[in-house]
């Protein structure tokens, strides 16, 4: 096979890993709370700035900056739920989405005020690795592995803990949950915090790969929503698989045309999926 195509395929898988975390986080929150966080990518953006600030400005070691980023964005997710989403539960979904859209502007604006619109970069790069005929960015590979570990941790949480099992249950039937001794409001809080933590983890993985600016969320936010819908909103496994599918489309599209056209193709594919399989690619 053409080594460049092979490289594109490999990069597609790596990109899918990066998409996967925000998709899982968004899907978790949607599945449990039934509200779309339109500002999810902006939570990731705040996380990226947190890492950048702690590492390059405050001089903290990168690992420590990562370790702080996760809980910090988890708290941000909690606040988002308590201040904006909870008061709007039971309102029309569009009102909820627009409110989180307002938060999107708030976060972009705050980031602009604090950090200006300059592009920032962490300046951390791992040496590329040679795999047979192709070269793979070491940073991307490390991020991919971390993303998979994050996804695995989430899976274990959902599969083996009481709270995780309740989270999976509530996505299907929230009304009977009190009968199980489950306080749905508490589960909403936990899901929001976990969703935030996933955004924090995604931030750690993106900050080493992307230059950041206050509007960086707009570059991967829309595709994140689309992947969620393609996988079936609330369907974690579907979203996870769709992330890799989109990663492959974007990166092989970049091989045949160019990066921009590959996004056009990916978005057209998304629209087609909604028309043909509105409940997601993997709906039964």
């Amino acid at each position: 096979m053409d080594p460049f195509l092979l490289e594109a395929l490999l990069n597609g898988v790596l990109l899918g890993g990066v998409f996967a975390l925000p998709v899982l986080g968004l899907n978790l929150v949607f599945g449990v709370v039934d509200v779309i966080w339109l500002c999810y990518a902006e939570l990731v953006m705040v996380g990226m700035y947190t890492v950048w600030f702690l590492h390059t400005q405050a001089g903290w070691p990168l690992g420590l900056a990562f370790a702080v980023c996760l809980p910090a964005i988890a708290v941000l997710g909690l606040l988002l739920h308590l201040l904006v989403v909870r008061p709007l539960l039971g309102r029309p979904p569009i009102n909820q989405v627009l409110a989180t859209g307002g938060v999107l502007f708030v976060l972009q604006g705050s980031a602009t005020l604090v950090f200006s619109t300059d592009f920032r970069s962490l300046g951390v790069e791992m040496p590329p690795m040679e795999m047979g005929e192709v070269f793979v960015s070491g940073t991307k590979l490390a991020a991919f592995v971390a993303a998979l570990l994050g996804a695995a941790a989430l899976w274990a949480f959902l599969k083996f803990t009481y709270v995780g099992t309740a989270i999976r249950a509530i996505a299907r039937d929230r009304e009977v949950m009190p009968l199980m001794g489950v306080d749905p409001r508490r589960i909403y809080l936990i899901a929001s915090a976990v969703g935030g933590a996933l955004a924090g983890l995604a931030a750690c993985l993106l900050v080493v790969q992307l230059d950041m600016h206050p509007f960086v969320g707009l570059s991967f936010g829309p595709i994140t929503f689309m992947i969620c819908v393609m996988g079936g909103l609330g369907n974690m496994l579907g979203g996870f698989l769709a992330a890799f599918l989109m990663g492959l489309i974007v990166s092989t599209g970049g091989f045949w045309w160019n990066t921009e056209m590959s996004y056009v193709v990916a978005f057209l594919f998304f629209i087609l999926v909604i028309f043909l399989r509105p409940r997601g690619l993997f709906a039964r």
Binding site: I94, G102, G109, T112, T117, L233, L268
Partner: protein, 351 residues
């Protein structure tokens, strides 16, 4: 959904026409250029917002109206720069192009029952596609650096729609009046009731013979046309186009914000919204200068959240309620029929 009509009924066509005539006299006041500029921007923003709310109030929430601004504007500008076709013809063509894209998007969406979140995301994807295409086709569009319509020689300036602020004020005013007229005509027709019924329960509406796809497509076409018109006029007025302000998620959400803040259930709501958003923009610029460019989105965002929390029907919602409170409506279902800000569409259940 019917409250919106109170205000337009109160107004009446005569009053509306008088208001437009009075506004037409604004350039005669010889206001400072800066004020004229702000007023024109407000009016053009109001046109886009009116277009958005026209369908948004029926639960057809689009997060991609930026796309139609962009299609209108770039079609017009490219026709002028590449083929020398005047914007007088280019703008209608741009509007037509936007409507064509609108049909390509709307017809399958409505036919296949893509509603609620899903419709919003389809339009969001479309808006992004248009933005990326503009960037990708940088050979002709100038990419993210933007483009400038070519300057016409002075003797051909009018034919090229290149004139001063007064001219654009009148054009914008015409577009705005057209938008309000479309709103009024729609609300007087059966379509408005059909769309309200569809927003309430699509299946029930279809079962009593309402042609759901057709009605939705009709209102979307008017909405798209207004957005494209606003986009093209804005571009021609500024003599500058760029993808970030004319397509994609950011301008789309700004349109939504204006319409929501003003109140999307009343015909003048989006106009009030435009006064607020542009007024806010400009005053923040005046107060903070450019070193605090983040302040505007920050304040926007906070206001959007506040509106959703405390005033989901927007400023115009306040205006509606006051007469209603003084003269209680006899109908028992007044409140129950239209809860504040209700757009009761749940996520799609699939085709």
């Amino acid at each position: 959904m019917t409250e919106g009509r109170n205000i337009s009924a109160m107004g009446g066509t005569a009053l509306g026409a008088a208001a437009v005539l009075a506004l037409a006299a604004v350039p005669l006041l010889s206001l400072p250029d800066y004020f004229m500029h702000v007023l024109i921007t407000m009016l053009l923003t109001a046109v886009a917002g009116t277009g958005w709310a026209l369908m948004g109030r029926f639960g057809l929430v689009s997060f991609g109206h930026g796309a139609f601004l962009g299609i209108g504007a770039y079609t017009m500008a490219l026709l002028w720069n590449l083929y020398g076709i005047t914007p007088w013809i280019g703008i209608p063509l741009g509007v037509a192009a936007a409507m064509a894209v609108g049909v390509m998007l709307g017809y399958p969406s409505f036919r296949l029952r893509v509603v609620g979140h899903y419709f919003a995301l389809v339009t969001l994807a479309a808006g992004e596609i248009v933005r990326i295409l503009i960037v990708a086709l940088r050979g002709v569009t100038g990419g993210s650096l933007g483009m400038t319509p070519q300057q016409a020689p002075p003797e051909a300036a009018f034919a090229a729609m290149q004139f001063g602020k007064a001219g654009f004020w009148w054009l914008a005013l015409a577009a705005w009046a057209g938008g309000l007229l479309a709103w009024r005509l729609l609300d007087r027709s059966m379509s408005s009731r059909a769309l309200a019924a569809i927003a309430e329960d699509e299946d029930a509406a279809a079962s009593i013979g309402i042609r759901v796809t057709r009605e939705k497509l009709k209102v979307m076409m008017i909405s798209v046309a207004l957005a494209a018109l606003a986009g093209a006029l804005t571009a021609q007025y500024r003599m500058y186009l760029n993808p970030e302000s004319l397509a994609g998620l950011a301008p789309s959400l700004q349109i939504v914000f204006g319409a929501i803040a003003g109140g999307m259930f009343s015909p003048i709501g989006p106009t009030i919204g435009a006064l607020i958003t542009i007024g806010l923009d400009e005053s923040l610029r005046v107060f903070f200068g450019t070193q605090f460019i983040g302040a505007a989105p920050l304040v926007y965002g906070l206001l959007l959240v506040m509106f959703m929390l405390f005033l989901p029907r927007g400023i115009a919602g306040l205006l509606e309620r006051r007469p209603a409170a003084r003269v209680p409506q006899p109908g028992p279902h007044r409140e129950a029929a239209a809860p504040p800000g209700s757009l009761g569409e749940k996520p799609a259940t699939g085709a």
